[in-house]
Symmetry: C2
Subunit: 338 residues, 2 copies
Amino acid sequence: MDNNTIYHIAERVGVSPSTVSRALSGKGYCGQKTKSRILAAAKEMNYAPDSAAQILKLRQTRKIIFAVPDICNPFYFDMINGINQVLEEHGYLLILIYTKHSLKEELKAIQNLREKVADGMIMVSFNFNEENISAINSVQSPVVLTNKFVSPGGGDRFDYVYTDTYLGIKIGTEHLISQGVRRIGYIGGNSSEQTGQQRLEGFLDAMDKAGLPVISSFVAESDYTENGGYLTAKAMLGRPELPEAIVASNDLMAIGVMKACEEAALRIPEDIAIVGMDNLDIASRVYPKLTSVSLVQEEIGRRSAQVLMDRLLGNPRDEEENKLIPRLVVRNSSIKPG
Amino acid sequence: MDNNTIYHIAERVGVSPSTVSRALSGKGYCGQKTKSRILAAAKEMNYAPDSAAQILKLRQTRKIIFAVPDICNPFYFDMINGINQVLEEHGYLLILIYTKHSLKEELKAIQNLREKVADGMIMVSFNFNEENISAINSVQSPVVLTNKFVSPGGGDRFDYVYTDTYLGIKIGTEHLISQGVRRIGYIGGNSSEQTGQQRLEGFLDAMDKAGLPVISSFVAESDYTENGGYLTAKAMLGRPELPEAIVASNDLMAIGVMKACEEAALRIPEDIAIVGMDNLDIASRVYPKLTSVSLVQEEIGRRSAQVLMDRLLGNPRDEEENKLIPRLVVRNSSIKPG
DNA sequence: ATATCAAATTGAACCGTTACACTGCAATGT
DNA sequence: ACATTGCAGTGTAACGGTTCAATTTGATAT
């Protein structure tokens, strides 16, 4: 219909294309009455600038990529929300890439950044290795990772924004301790990964600080899934001595634990108290409502986007701002009634 | 670091830029040994094509916009998943725009399309009016709406893909009828809107077909929120005669209804059966698990993206394919045990 | 009337790629 | 020996904006 360019407007108004450009962009001199004639013509001709041409010339896309392993996980909704709040302020658009926990897809996302599809990228990944880290480091555009990650050799060119999960598990465990329970179990993820290790330490430190013994048969590793939590808890509850409380290192596992408790005819929280982490939407939907440590996902999103904007604008940043404090959300699964 | 262009490669290899372009894109003639020298140089120089330049030249962005009212609603994440499956096949990227149910934001999204930020758009909206519809019609790029919507004057240039919600409520109601209940209540949305009207008719037709009387005090309108469902059900359950079942026209309201039933000490499904619609993730998390009519969101997403791709490729389309059939997912809230 | 100066506008280059018409050149056929 | 064919690669003009040095215009001062 109306694929008009600044050339068409220029011709119609009887000025040069560069004048039209200045009138429309508001940069540089432009006489008042010429300007209003140009604006009127542009409106009448239904003109819309061609973003590709602008990007090519201006060398900025006003878009950022959010590369996320799993679109379906509600955890990331909140992050997207936070990211979006900041992007909106700056007139940026969000490109969502779904990496499915696959290295190949992650490298594809990085390649998009190299091809200047976007000005920066926020990436969530759980399998960083030499290959994707060096790919990220080889990109000019700023990248934010949502894990604490420092390459052995140093010299990383990305930022990271993360919540202190060590502290999260510590807070959750201390909450249980403050409820008076002593025999506390812990179900973590793979402790050979950095984040799994940190969470375990959070648990151990809280117990240690309170002078409580850690019972080794009550400490187990699973895989962050509901079913994994269920199976692990089932094994733990099959022993003669039962824990009085269980800390799960995420909500999905905690929900699996609750299922196992239900099957073992244990009442929550009377017989056994449960604490999860992530504070997913479903934490408040399950019965009883699950006490959970929020990793302040929305804040991670906001902060990550803010880092990107600061990098793009050349603003200085204090790295300390990138470490976020988790927040305990107390619900029914951990509070003994009365 | 390495902002190399095809000119740099050309210079290094000793050929012309156009030869480099052909070698890299694989279009047009290129001698074998020249080609491999170019490819080797490109790799060595860490070359990545500039997407802005390609877009400008090729006149296609290989991106589509998904404009959605509410990022947090899990309903849309299934859609995104479906959309993504198709886009991935075609090497397209997804731009997510959050319109917050605001006309202004919707018009902004349309403006992005006009500025050729993307090749097409899928839009979810509940407030179409002359302004945004005519804006959509004035865009060249294909647009898919996820409601059935035909402008009074006709001549619409967009497609629509939608699930038959009339049929959805009808199926849900018939399911309850088949369980032997007779006194069935219905909580819908605003019936002055098209979709609210259709859903109500689905209920009425199912009742009529089964020869069951519609009791007017059991038919109410609410606002599609959990709290709205709760309040409406509370009012309904405060009367001397109670319904044996309630159909809610979405899951959030159904969950509100369940809460009201719980407070009224009604057992679900023994005393009262509940059916929702949307089949959200939480439908299977609540207790008892909620029977719900799936609007096959993922399929809507897939189909919408497919329509866009067909339009972009010039493939013919059968409009009948755009109407989807809902699917009943039976869970515990509607089945009398035994 | 002419010099001076600021304001307004122009023209051309550029961003990095693709596509098309064209030129050499070697091998083939008659 | 000469036209024909096909292959390999080149040169150039876009795509639609922005920007900056150069130029024109118009107003004011001399």
